[in-house]
Structure formats: C-alpha cells, structure tokens
C-alpha cells in the first residue's frame, strides 16, 4: 500500500460522544492534528459526524467468475460509497476460494484495484461440496491471512464435518461462519418464508426452524470444541433465543443480521418480485422485531450486508427460478440508521460497535474497527445523519441493479470515506 499520500486534515468534525475537533492522517494513521504540515489536503467537515470506517463481515464480490455482475474494484467502490473501509469477501466465487492461491488472488487483486480492504473468506469444504475440509491451514498461512471460513450460500450440513472444521481452526484462532439452513427442512424448492403467505402463493416454504435447528446444533458443537462460531444473517426469533442461551452459557458464538432483515418483511414477496428473493428469506414482522431487539441487547453482535449482486437475466425469472440475493453495501448504513437510530433503539456508540468494531474483531482485523484516536489506522467515514434521499437503483457503483430499496426514501448519510488515509469516496 502506498504511504506517499498527502497528509489529510479534516476539520470541524463531530464525534459520537458529542465532542468536536479536527483529524489529521499522515502515512495512513491518525496523528495529533496540531502537527499538520503545510502541504496538507484539507476537508471541511463542519456539521458532519465522524465514524470509524465501517466493516462488512459478509460481502459477495463475484470475482473471479462473474465479473459481469461485480468485480473487486466495483464492489469495493460500492463499499466505500456505503462508508465501508473493509469487507469480507465470501468464498462462493468461480472457482471457489478454497485454496491459498485462490485467497491470494482475491487479496492481491484488492490491493491493486480495491477501494477498501478485502479480507477473503475461505471455504470450509472443497468446492463448497460439504464433504471434505478445504485447506484451511494453508489459507490461514497465506498472504491473505484468512481467519474466517464459510461455505456461505450453502450450509455445512454434515455435523461431523462441522465439528472437524471448528476443531481444526482453533489452531490459528479461526472462526467458522455458518449459513444456517438445514437442507432437508428447507429443501431445494424453498424460496420464501414458510407461513401464511407461502401457503397462499404456492411458494416453496423455508421454515424458521430450518435455521434455528442448525444454530442450536452448531452452538453445541462450538461448546464441545471450544471454538469460535459465527452465525451469518440470523433471520428468526427462534435463532435469537438459541443465541441468547448460548451466550449466557459462555459459548464463543457471534452473529450478524442484515439490514434487509431489520426492515423488510415477507409481505414484500406478495407481488412475486424476485428482487425480494433472498436467502434466508424475509420473515414476518415479529421476527424483525426480535432481530432489532437482539441487536440492541448484544445477542446479535454485528450487521453484515450479504451484498449479493446479480445480473438482470439471473433475476428476471419466475420467483422460484430466480437467483437469491440483493444488493446492500451502499444502503446498509442508511437502513441501520432508519431502523435502529431514528427509532431510538440504539445510540451512535452501539452503531459503531455493530458496524465497525465487532465485525473487525470477528474477522480478526486489527487494522479496522479502531477508535478515531492517535495511532489508529486512518480509516473513517464522515456522515450527515440527517441526509435522506429516494433510492434509485440506477444510481449505483455496483455493476448490478438488484436493489430492494429502489424508490424508497431512506437516510443517505455518507459524505466521505477514508481508508488508510486515502479518500475512497467523496459525495459530489
């Protein structure tokens, strides 16, 4: 990474504790603002709130394999626009990120072309097949320094393979991130929350219990092995109950929730619009309430976008035949502000925790999620908390347009993102 950037002086910022001041970044780290040199680049941030750079534990960047839908360059540009300075890139690329070489490809490409740090997530099993362990240790030892492993998109359904994976990564403090979906209970046709709407529309049901039984099994395996488990995109009240029990018991489990599961409900699928087809599916309002509460009380640790770009031709099918997933990086902060801050459920300290500090800890990234103090890496995002806009799916830095928020009025706060002292996004 280049260290020859001009020093950056940001003046008049507000901090989450209500205090104000200036920030100076030299050689990629915060230093005493009084030591600003003459050739400094100045940014006037009067009236803007400074947050540590956001960290997404769950992004799909599609490179290699589907560069028509997203690349590391475009995905990280979208991330920067959303206020993120680091993202974890899930392993379900083509080929799958299941070797050290594959992880290094993502890592190296991001260093060359990325507008944010990209931490590759390694596959748990070879080819995501759920049969044999991938080379977890070699990925951990590689330049990419992989710490999180996940077959995301698929569940590690075999309990013995899950046990072995948890045991194995203890050697290097790895974490197994599980896409909790029992493949028998939520079978091949499952595409919509199982309930009144799926029954009426005749859509294959994805029952809540298919998630919570896997979470229950996995937290017990995490207890047995003493290892770290991370539960991806928790979507049900039942899973929250299991997580609450596990945390009270001291089991090393963390969990994330997506912005869309904090705001949208299964009612969105009533028109069969495949934009709202996502895995796990959107759930009823009671689950949304339980997820918000779990993010308040710490049962859920982090927000993860599950940013899942898709080409038009992969989405414009009958609902059951369309690809799963929706975009999320550019709108995540706005949705969390709408659902959690504006509703008074959490304060800015908690927002920083769930969107920056906690995800960095879960991913094992010591250069991310740090407070905005001298000596910290120069990552931040400047936001205007009151700014709102109508979301336009056409106006995006992602290569894809499967944006579930199109046409909605949402907070649109991000004004400037700085990653390691370098401006990666600036509102024009």
């Amino acid at each position: 990474m280049s260290t020859s950037q001009r020093p950056l002086l940001i003046t008049g910022v507000e901090f989450v504790d209500g205090s104000g001041g200036d920030l100076l970044i030299i050689d990629g780290a915060f230093v005493d603002p009084d030591r600003a040199p003459a050739d400094v680049e100045r940014v006037d941030a009067t009236g803007l709130l400074a947050l540590p750079g956001l960290v997404d534990p769950h992004t799909h960047l599609r490179e290699p394999g589907r560069e028509d839908t997203e690349t590391i360059a475009t995905g990280t540009a979208a991330a920067a626009r959303g206020g993120f300075t680091a993202v974890a890139a899930m392993a379900n690329t083509q080929p799958v990120t299941d070797t050290a070489e594959a992880a290094e490809f993502v890592h190296d490409t991001a260093i060359r072309e990325g507008a944010a740090k990209v931490q590759p997530v390694g596959a748990v099993s070879k080819g995501l097949a759920g049969e044999e362990l991938a080379e977890l240790g070699l990925m951990a030892r590689s330049r990419a320094g992989v710490r999180m492993f996940s077959d995301d998109g698929r569940c590690v359904a075999d309990p013995l393979l899950m046990r072995r994976a948890l045991e194995y990564v203890r050697a290097f403090d790895g974490v197994i991130a599980q896409h909790a979906q029992d493949p028998r209970l939520a079978g091949p046709g499952a595409c919509c929350h199982e309930g009144e709407i799926s029954g009426r529309l005749g859509l294959g049901g994805w029952p809540a219990v298919a998630e919570s039984v896997i979470v229950a099994r996995d937290v017990q395996l995490a207890e047995l092995t003493g290892s770290r488990l991370h539960v991806c995109h928790v979507s049900t009240a039942e899973s929250v109950e299991v997580l609450r029990w596990a945390k009270q018991r001291g089991i090393r489990v963390s969990a994330e929730v997506t912005p869309h599961h904090l705001l949208l409900t299964t009612d969105e699928v009533l028109g069969y619009d495949p934009t709202y087809k996502v895995n796990p599916p959107l759930r009823p309002a009671e689950d949304v309430q339980a997820l918000r509460q779990a993010l308040v009380d710490g049962t859920i640790d982090a927000v993860g976008t599950d940013h899942a770009p898709h080409a038009r031709q992969d989405k414009e099918h009958a609902f059951a035949d369309a690809a799963f997933g929706m975009l999320g990086l550019e709108t995540a902060l706005g949705v969390v502000i709408e659902t959690m801050i504006d509703s008074g459920l959490i304060d800015w300290f908690r927002l920083v925790e769930v969107m920056s500090a906690a995800p960095a800890r879960i991913l094992g990234l010591s250069d991310q999620g740090q407070p905005l103090v001298e000596g910290s890496p120069g990552n931040l995002t400047l936001i205007d908390p009151g700014a709102r806009a109508r979301v336009d799916a056409g106006d995006s830095l992602s290569l894809s347009r499967n944006n579930p928020w199109h046409g909605r009025d949402l907070p649109d706060p991000v004004q400037l993102t700085v990653w390691s002292g370098r401006i990666t996004y600036r509102r024009s």
Partner: protein, 311 residues
C-alpha cells in the same frame, strides 16, 4: 377484466357472467359446426413452459371456436438453459403483436410476473403450486349444472363441498377455495396434516383429517390428484395407507348423500385417490368437467378480448 391471474381476482358478478356465457358457449360446442366469429382477427398465444396436453388443447379449441388465431409456444426448459430470462421470453412474444397470452408455468407466480411486464392480457393456465383459475371456473360450471338437473334454480351458494387430498401442492385446490367461497359455498378441506398448506388455518374453510366424518354431509366431493413424487416425498407412508385414509373407495361411495357429485381434475390415479366405481359413478362429473373446460375458456377469452369492440 384485464387479466385472469387468480380466482381471487374475480367478483361473484364476474364469475356469474363467465358461467352464464359459458352456458351459451356450450351450446356451440354441441353444434356440428363449432364456430363463432367473436374473436376473428385476434391472436391468442398459448405459452406453455410446462407440458399439459389437456389444458393446452382445451385453450386451443376455445380460441379456435371463437375464430381467434391460436399459436402454441412450448418454452419448456428452453429459456433458462439458453440464458434468456422469463421477462425476455414474455416481452419477445408480446412484441410479435399477440392479443392475449395464456401462460402455463411450473413456477408459482410466473403469469402474475408476466402481467406486470406487459400490457397484453395474461391468462393463468396453471402456475406451479399456486392457482389454476379456469379449472375452478369449470368445476363451478359442472357443479352448477349438476345441481340444476334436480332444481333448475339451484346455485352453489350454501352447498357444502369437500376438497380432498394434496392441498399443499394443488393449484386446483387454491383456485377452488377462492372461487367457491366467492360463490358462497361452504368448504371443508380434508387431508393428512402433511398435505395441509402452511397458514391454512387462516383460510375461510373448515379443516378435517377424517374423510369418513365429513363424507355424509357434503354435496360435492372434489378429489385431488396425488402426484407420483409426493409418494416418495414422505408426505404419507404408502399409497395403500393413503387410499385407506383419503381415497374415495367403493365403501365411501356408499356414504355420500344421494345425488352428491364427485369431481376430479384429472388425470385420475384410479385405485389411489379415486376408485373405479367412484370415477364411473352416475354422479361423477369427471367427463363433464373436461367438456365444461372448453366452454368456460371460450367465455373467459371472450371476457378478456371480446368486450373491447362493444365499447
């Protein structure tokens, strides 16, 4: 009526209007020369993403007897494998200048999505495990005719109808419940709990897992087809057990009220959900349902396409 996507979209007045016109159309069906000029110059496309000779032929005859030009497009498996989206397929057909699309698809909601993408009237000819509204209309037509044989003023309102079998996967059941409720029928759904749709408790029907308990009270027993894949899917233990629990056996035939009608959307698994005795009983409407299918579809096509010239 701009589209016919779901039986739930139809008001009682619209249903009566369709059924009454279908009565007139059925007279045409009985003539030696079966041709009305109503849709001359109009083009109807049968866009079938899923095979169904029976339904396709019925729509094809309905269109032709109204003098429409009918083309059949079998898109089964083609578009997805070629990378073309459903939207592209629908817009391509629409761009050719057709006047209505009759769509059959293995996925629920496909006709509704098509209707959202194009201005051309869309008629749902069966979508996944969702709906099959013309089937519900033809069932109502056949049932009403049956009732009127003994009472010319008879209506479906107030009659009790049992719908029996694989309710979870049945588009016939979903459309039937909506439409027959709209007409004021009382409905009891009968199935093992594994074949009851999720959320069925909120439907405007009563539920039973005991066919023998309801059989003596109903005016119509509508038996649903059991699909082969359900037999190995763990929905019930064996075909034998299904028949003993939920088949319209010869013994159960004797429990029906005198004159109670038997319906089945076909094709029948004789000996599984319906015995030969029941299928061929005097009160069985099975073949009348097929005949009613053409008349009802003529009426629906006329309602979708024929009205414009009158305005």
């Amino acid at each position: 009526m701009r589209n016919l996507l779901s039986a739930a979209d139809l008001s009682a007045e619209e249903v009566f209007s369709i059924l009454d016109l279908a009565e007139e159309m059925s007279e045409v069906q009985a003539r030696p020369i079966k041709k009305l000029p109503a849709l001359r110059g109009r083009t109807v496309v049968n866009l079938f993403f899923e095979d169904s000779t029976r339904t396709r032929s019925s729509f094809e005859l309905a269109g032709k007897w109204l003098s429409a030009d009918v083309i059949n497009v079998s898109a089964k498996g083609s578009s997805v494998s070629k990378g073309e989206s459903l939207r592209d397929t629908v817009l391509t057909i629409a761009a050719m200048g057709v006047d209505a699309m009759v769509i059959r698809h293995s996925a629920s909601g496909a006709p509704a999505q098509a209707a959202a993408w194009t201005q051309i009237p869309v008629l749902n000819a069966g979508d996944g495990t969702h709906e099959h509204p013309t089937q519900a209309l033809l069932d109502a037509f056949a049932i009403r005719r049956h009732l009127r044989r003994s009472d010319p003023e008879a209506e479906i309102a107030g009659k009790k109808i049992a719908i029996v079998g694989d309710l979870t996967h049945s588009r016939v059941a979903r459309s039937g419940v909506s439409l027959l409720r709209t007409l004021g029928a009382e409905i009891v759904l009968v199935a093992p709990p594994t074949l009851m749709p999720s959320g069925v408790g909120t439907w405007p029907v009563s539920l039973s897992t005991d066919l023998d308990e309801v059989l003596g009270e109903v005016d119509v027993a509508m038996m649903l087809r059991v699909q082969r894949e359900r037999m190995s899917g763990g929905y019930f233990p064996t075909p034998r057990e299904y028949t003993v629990g939920y088949g319209l056996t010869r013994d159960r035939l004797a429990k029906l009220k005198p004159g109670a009608a038997i319906c089945h959307p076909g094709p029948m698994n004789r000996g599984l959900e319906i015995s030969a005795d029941a299928a061929d009983a005097a009160s069985s409407l099975v073949l009348e349902q097929v005949a009613a299918g053409v008349a009802v579809r003529m009426s629906v096509l006329y309602h979708l396409l024929g009205g414009e010239e009158d305005q």
